[in-house]
């Protein structure tokens, strides 16, 4: 089973959404902080900017020759001194004439008498903040300063706010990441559960805790599994019934043909009847094999419970069942049976061995030998059948377990189902099937290894 790549991932969607939202929120928060900081800076510095305005306004003297600021140069310098910013002042008469201070300062907007305002302006192209007072004596005093201090304060405030915001944002994204991963875990478990299953395992998903959000999915899936199981049970039952129903008429046919062959028959008729007989036997075998396949394919929890079986006893029974067939094929069928207990299906394990022996007798030329062995090697019970037949080429070994596949050019009347049945049964018992060539004469050896019996009742999860 291949793991599907994730072109559309809930996790990615969630993460992109959450990260995007967080970024917008951080930007918004920063903007708000900036505006608040700007306002605070203006509030703080505007008040101190008003002081020299009031002082200058209070010291305007007017006489016949005109008006002027009556302050010594040093005092004026002290009033407009600042470490960081350039501070400038300007005094205008009621008519708007500049009577003292910097000439390049823009005229202020209209101010009611006795009031003061603060506003932004420019001085020699640079932005400045201006405090202006329309004094009761009619003069308008403006003091402007560049924005260095204010900008520094704003920067400091924004920075002081921004760093923790960024940290909190990053933490939120990380938490979201983990949270999503955590939230997705039941899905991961479900996926692992399903991927770890054998294709025949159609039991409903029950051993995974399913959160309410995906419970409908799990339910729908279980429903589908149930339907599949029903369909597969139905199909197997049909196959089994069909095979059963075929057996009886085939038995009758075979019996009559055999009785016919016992009597006197013209040579050409005898040859025909013999062909009919062998076709009948083949059809019977096919019916048996289809039945075996149906049994081997049924879902693991639908078959008989596994029992402890000794492969030696299965070999013993095979010796009794197969020896006369071996004599008829002129093949020396031998046995090397040692105790080998496994947990297995009491019907399918003999079926497995029958198919292996049948193949060996079928494809080994007369005069050859076949040997059935059972035992325990390296802790694993095994069953093997080797013969002195033509062997199976390495390139064919993976294909011979396919249904109805027959090695090209082989004689014999096999159905091509034998090894497919063997494979099904081996898989069902979590065993391993090994086909190789043995000895100088190059016969086939098929070896099946089983897991050792014991506390194996619970199949270990393949994770």
């Amino acid at each position: 089973m291949t793991q599907p790549s994730a072109p559309d991932s809930i996790r990615r969607h969630l993460l992109i959404f959450l990260s995007g939202s967080l970024c917008v929120m951080i930007l918004g928060a920063t903007l708000v902080t900036y505006l608040v900081a700007l306002r605070s800076a203006n509030d703080a510095y505007d008040r101190s900017l008003l002081d020299p305005v009031v002082d200058i306004a209070a010291n305007i003297r007017s006489d016949g020759s005109g008006a002027r600021v009556d302050l010594p140069q040093k005092a004026l310098e002290a009033l407009t001194y600042d470490q960081l910013d350039t501070v400038i002042f300007q005094v205008r008469s009621e008519r708007g004439d500049i009577i003292d201070g910097e000439e390049e300062l823009e005229p202020p907007p209209a101010i009611p008498t006795g009031e003061h305002i603060f506003f932004d302006s420019t001085y020699r192209g640079a932005p400045i903040r201006v405090a202006a007072l329309h004094a009761t004596n009619g003069f308008t005093v403006q003091v402007g300063e560049t924005l260095n201090k204010r900008n520094r304060l704003v920067r400091e405030i924004v920075l002081a706010e921004f760093v923790p915001t960024i940290v909190i944002g990053a933490a939120a994204i990380a938490l979201a990441w983990f949270g999503v991963a955590r939230g997705m875990r039941p899905l991961e478990h479900m996926r692992a559960e399903l991927l770890g299953r054998s294709p025949r395992d159609l039991r409903p998903i029950t051993n995974v805790t399913v959160p309410t959000e995906i419970a409908p999915v799990a339910e729908a899936f279980n429903g589908l599994l149930r339907d599949l199981r029903d369909a597969s049970t139905l199909q197997q039952r049909f196959l089994a019934n069909a095979a059963h129903q075929l057996r009886t008429p085939l038995a009758g046919l075979q019996m009559h043909l055999e009785l016919l062959l016992r009597g006197e028959l013209p040579t050409n008729v005898r040859a025909e009847v013999e062909r009919m007989h062998s076709a009948t036997v083949r059809a019977s075998r096919l019916a048996n094999q289809l039945l075996a396949l149906a049994k081997a394919e049924s879902a693991p929890d639908q078959g008989r419970p596994l029992e402890v079986i000794d492969l030696k006893a299965v070999g013993d029974a095979a010796a009794r069942d197969w020896f006369s067939t071996a004599i008829a094929h002129k093949i020396d069928l031998g046995f090397a049976l040692e105790r080998a207990p496994i947990e297995g299906d009491p019907v399918l394990i003999p079926e497995l061995l029958d198919n292996l022996i049948d193949n060996a007798l079928r494809y080994t030329p007369p005069g050859g030998a076949a040997t059935v062995s059972t035992g325990v090697r390296d802790g694993a019970p095994y069953l093997s059948v080797e013969d002195t037949g033509p062997g199976i080429a390495a390139s064919e070994r993976s294909r011979v377990v396919e249904r109805f596949y027959r090695v090209p050019g082989t004689s014999g009347d096999g159905s091509g189902l034998g090894l497919a049945i063997v494979k099904e049964i081996v898989d069902r018992h979590a065993g391993s099937l090994e086909i190789d060539t043995r000895g100088a004469n190059g016969g086939t050896r098929v070896r099946v290894r089983f897991p050792p019996p014991g506390p194996l009742a619970q199949k270990p999860s393949p994770a």
Partner: protein, 229 residues
């Protein structure tokens, strides 16, 4: 050994016409008196009234199934030999059938030779012990424990005699060395697989000229082919 099988009464219960005709034909040709029915109920009635030596019983019958017929037969404590024919799952039916008291079983389809061998074995089992068996050139006087090969007396040791007796009761069946050892356990020392080989080989040498064949099943045991029947 055909000479020792007298005419027996056999009831065949099988609902497939083709197969039952074949079975009846085989058994009649062997010289038996054969009755036939396709109904489990009727078979049960017949079995209650008549005295048969052997019942050939199909499991899948249209009215009551073969297992039920068998259960009723054994409930009457009838000693009749029962050969069950099954088209269903061989192992399950076999276990169930043997539990209910079947003597043997055959899975469909089967060869005529196989069927005949099973019938012969069952009839022999229920027949009175044979006193004289002759196979090919071999003549065995069971009661007197005397063996003649081609009309010449042959002396057998007690173990060889026990082996021969065992083989004669299981013609055509593979016997494992374990089974043979179990059978010969009455002797003073337990028999190893090697010892069995030695005894079989001696028995073989003594009787082979009679045309009987004891085949070796490599690594497993022996098969008494029993010559021509």
């Amino acid at each position: 050994m055909s000479a020792t099988v007298a005419t027996m009464r056999i009831l065949v219960v099988e609902d497939d016409k083709l197969l039952s005709e074949g079975l009846v034909s085989v058994l009649s040709r062997a010289g038996h008196a054969v009755d036939y029915t396709a109904s489990g109920k009727y078979a049960d009635t017949l079995l209650g009234q008549e005295s048969y030596d052997l019942l050939v019983l199909d499991v899948g019958l249209p009215d009551i199934d073969g297992f039920e017929v068998l259960r009723r037969v054994r409930a009457r404590h009838s000693p009749i030999g029962v050969l069950v024919l099954t088209a269903r799952d061989a192992v399950e039916d076999r276990v169930h059938g043997l539990d209910l008291g079947a003597d043997d079983y055959l899975t469909k389809p089967f060869s005529v030779a196989e069927f005949e061998a099973r019938v012969r074995a069952l009839l022999r089992r229920n027949a009175p012990p044979e006193t004289r068996v002759s196979v090919g050139g071999l003549t065995v006087d069971v009661a007197a424990k005397r063996v003649r090969v081609n009309d010449k007396a042959v002396d057998l040791t007690p173990r060889e005699w026990a082996l021969l007796e065992l083989f004669l009761t299981r013609p055509g069946r593979v016997l494992s060395k374990d089974q043979i050892a179990e059978r010969l356990i009455g002797f003073d020392e337990p028999l190893s697989a090697n010892a069995i080989e030695v005894h079989v080989s001696r028995l073989r040498t003594k009787i082979e000229s009679a045309g009987v064949l004891i085949r070796t099943v490599r690594g497993f045991g022996y098969l008494w082919e029993g010559g021509h029947e």
